[in-house]
Amino acid sequence: MAKDLDKKLAVGQGLDRYASAVGLIGALLSTLGFILAFVLAAPVNGASVDGVEMIGGQMVSNQLLFSQKIFYFHMPAAVTSMVALAFTAWFGIRFLTTRDARYDLRAKLATEIALLFIIMTMFSGEMWERFEWGVWWTWEPRLTTYFILMLLVFAYFILRTAVDEPERRATYASVFGIITFIDVPICFMITRLIPSSVHPVVFRTDSGLSPDMLVPLLLSMFGMFCIAFALYRLRLRTETMAQEVDAIKREIDE
């Protein structure tokens, strides 16, 4: 029985072998990215000051913006959440074409991961915004888009709990996942492209990234991808096992 179970769990699960290793690599990379963000990356310059000072062998004539350091984890988390949502949509399409319940499970778990990284992004973004803009909330385009995205992910889970019949639930969730993924870029585009007469433009664009900033950023981004993947596999393993448990229970009951 136990062997049988292992075999069942192993179906399409070859990646599980690497999951923990990948998770470890992810943790290492993001930690490295975190350290380098403070050590290697040059601080972003703010307003110019009244004079020049030598700091660490460099002439500095601007204020150093420490708050920008949030960016090195904030942006990778945001990108990771988007990638996870892309997987939700992709698994949704796969489900609709194959009607295979496994894809529905994967879509659900990908959305779970997306929610985690969305929350991380919202937390870090919120801290940056509070310091830089001095407000807790403003309907600034990027912020708004991200907020809407979070609401859509909440809606995805609410929808799932509101349908009892498994196949119907899977179909609805897949369809909604696909629409969500399409709607977010539209939302982003519209809120940015329509000039708003009411709000002042508060958003400061991050000017081009120099290599010393790019390295920690890419390291943390790649690290987050790895972490997301490892967590996804962990959840997938758990849920597949839980399904197996349900099946055995039903067998015993009969």
Partner: protein, 233 residues
């Protein structure tokens, strides 16, 4: 038996919705009353504002809030009678393209929403805008109104087909619908505001209208493609 054309089937289904509405008037009357009540709530909400308060700047937003909430009510109703006696199943038994069902339902929803808007718009003017002078460009608000309503009817038809089979369907429709139409709402509010309150018509109005139309095209196409899965589930 000669198979009717897709268009004939579309007309038949649309006529069915109109006949039903003509007999019961439940969607139009409930949406109309609801819209009126929202206007009353606006009255209370704005009653304490200063005399010099610039209601024109807010009118676009207020109008669209009214439309979104009213259409939510209507969309919720639009499938309840299809579910009542399993009528939708009866339609699924007929050899017909599933997207016809979507198009017919979206059209009837669009028509009902437009009728309600035609009634509500003068009322909105009557209650809130008679004290000020809207910009002379105000008739141009009809275009964003149409474009926005098309998008609401399109995506709303898909979503209400989903929520009619769920628990707590009334709330769920709002939960799914409002974030999804946010971009459309944003575009339509800015297009409406700029023609009512005056401003950079060329820059904002056209831009917003184009984006709203783009949203319509993408979302209606997507709903149309995905509808088969939803309605057969």
């Amino acid at each position: 038996m000669n198979k009717p054309s897709t268009f004939q089937q579309y007309v038949t289904l649309l006529r069915k919705d109109l006949q039903r509405e003509f007999r019961t008037k439940d969607m139009l009357s409930s949406m109309g009353i609801y819209a009126l009540l929202v206007l009353v709530v606006y009255g209370a909400a704005l009653s304490q504002t200063a005399r010099q308060f610039d209601v024109l700047q807010m009118s676009g937003g207020l109008l669209w809030a009214l439309i979104v909430f009213t259409s939510l009510l209507g969309l919720n109703r639009s499938f309840s009678h299809e579910k009542e006696n399993g009528c939708l199943e009866g339609i699924m038994l007929v050899p017909l393209d599933r997207s016809v069902v979507f198009l017919a339902k979206a059209t009837s929803n669009l028509l009902f929403l437009l009728v309600v808007e035609v009634v509500v718009l003068p009322l909105f003017y009557f209650f809130f805008l008679t004290t000020t002078q809207p910009a002379s460009t105000w008739p141009m608000l009809l275009l964003p109104l149409l474009v926005g309503t098309i998008g609401i009817a399109g995506i709303g038809t898909l979503l209400s087909t989903i929520t009619v089979n769920t628990r707590g369907k009334d709330v769920l429709l709002a939960v799914l619908f409002i974030p999804l139409v946010y971009p459309l709402l944003y575009a339509c509010v800015s297009a409406t505001t700029v023609v009512v309150a005056g401003g950079d018509i060329e820059g904002v109005y056209l831009n917003a209208l184009l984006l709203a139309a783009g949203y319509d095209v993408i979302m209606v196409l997507l709903s149309w493609v995905l509808y088969d899965f939803v309605v057969s589930a």
